[in-house]
C-alpha cells in the first residue's frame, strides 16, 4: 500500500466524524455545510490533527502501512475525542483545548445556522411567489389553507382574511406569504398541487 493511501482513510474518518458531530448539533435536514467557511477551516484543523497523529504512529511506533485500520481509528479518534478534552495547566494558567475546540465548533454551528436561514428565506420567497400565481389564477384558492392554519397560531382565520383585504396591499401576495411564513412545507405542497 502506498504511503499516501495509508493516510487517506484517516482524513476520511476525521471528516466523517466531525461532520456528523456538526450535523446532529443543528436541526436542518439538509444543511448546506459547504457554504460555511468556518466548517472547512474546522475540517482542515481536525484533518491536520488526525494526519499528525497518524504520522507519529507510522513513524515512531513502528506500525506498518498495512496496519492502516488501527492507525485510522486511533488517529481519527485522537482528534475527535482526546484533543477536544485536553487541558495542560501550569498553576492557574494553561492551554484548554476543550474551550478552544468548543468555541470553534460553536462558530461553525452559528455559520451553518445562518446559512440554513438564508436558504429558508430564499425558499419562502420562491414558494410564496408560486402560491401567489395560483391564487391570482383562481382567487380564494388559499382561503381554506389560511382558515385551517390560523387556529394553530391562535388567530381567527376569517379576521385574517378580512385584514388582508382591508390592508390595501396585494391580497394574493399577503395570503401566500402568510402561509409560507407559518408552515413552509405545507405551503410547498400547496404550490405543487395541480
Amino acid at each position: 500500500m502506498s504511503a499516501w493511501l495509508a493516510y487517506l482513510p484517516v482524513l476520511m474518518v476525521a471528516v466523517f466524524l466531525n461532520t456528523a458531530d456538526i450535523y446532529f448539533m443543528q436541526s436542518d435536514r439538509l444543511p448546506q455545510l459547504q457554504r460555511a467557511p468556518s466548517y472547512w477551516l474546522y475540517m482542515v484543523g481536525h484533518g491536520l490533527v488526525g494526519l499528525g497523529a497518524a504520522y507519529l504512529l507510522y513513524r515512531k511506533s513502528g506500525l506498518d502501512h498495512s496496519d492502516w485500520p488501527v492507525v485510522t481509528m486511533v488517529s481519527a479518534l485522537a482528534g475527535f475525542s482526546l484533543l477536544q478534552s485536553w487541558t495542560l495547566k501550569f498553576g492557574d494558567k494553561g492551554i484548554d483545548a476543550r474551550d478552544l475546540f468548543d468555541a470553534w465548533k460553536r462558530r461553525v454551528i452559528e455559520d451553518v445556522s445562518q446559512s440554513n436561514t438564508s436558504r429558508k428565506r430564499e425558499r419562502q420567497m420562491r414558494v410564496a411567489r408560486q402560491l401567489t400565481v395560483k391564487e391570482m389564477a383562481s382567487p380564494g384558492r388559499l382561503d381554506g389553507a389560511i382558515l385551517q392554519l390560523a387556529p394553530s397560531v391562535k388567530e381567527d382565520g376569517k379576521a385574517l382574511l378580512e385584514g388582508f383585504k382591508a390592508s390595501g396591499y396585494d391580497t394574493s401576495l399577503l395570503k401566500a406569504q402568510w402561509i409560507a411564513s407559518v408552515d413552509l412545507d405545507f405551503a410547498q405542497s400547496l404550490a405543487e398541487l395541480p
Binding site: 460553536r106 454551528i109 452559528e110 440554513n116 410564496a128
Partner: protein, 104 residues
C-alpha cells in the same frame, strides 16, 4: 484565574426562577428551531403559543446577542424576521438545559 460570568447569566436565572411562565417554556424549546432559522409565527405554530409571546422572547434574546435577526422579506406580522442561533446563544441554551435538568 476564574472566568467572568457571562453577561447572559441573569437571563438564565430569570427563566429559571419562573420555569412555568410561558416565556420560560418557549425558551426551553427554541434551539430546535433556531439552528435552521424560523419566524416567530412558525415557532408559535409548533409550540402552540401566541406569536406575540414568541416574538417578545426572541426580541429579548436578540437584544442580548443570543439570536441573530435576518429580515425574511415577507410582509407578514410576526413573519417579517427569521431568527437563528449565535455562538453565545448556544452557550446560553446549554446553560438553560443544564438548569432544567437540575430542576427535574
Amino acid at each position: 484565574m476564574q472566568n467572568a460570568s457571562p453577561y447572559w447569566l441573569r437571563l438564565v436565572y430569570k427563566y429559571k426562577d419562573d420555569p412555568n411562565s410561558p416565556a420560560a417554556k418557549i425558551v426551553s424549546r427554541l434551539p430546535q428551531f433556531l439552528s435552521k432559522g424560523a419566524s416567530a409565527l412558525e415557532i408559535a405554530r409548533n409550540l402552540q403559543s401566541k406569536p406575540e409571546d414568541v416574538a417578545t422572547v426572541l426580541q429579548e434574546l436578540a437584544e442580548n446577542d443570543l439570536v441573530k435577526v435576518q429580515p425574511s422579506g415577507l410582509n407578514v406580522t410576526y413573519g417579517e424576521n427569521l431568527y437563528s442561533m449565535t455562538s453565545e446563544g448556544q452557550q446560553f441554551f446549554k446553560q438553560m438545559a443544564m438548569q432544567a435538568s437540575k430542576l427535574s
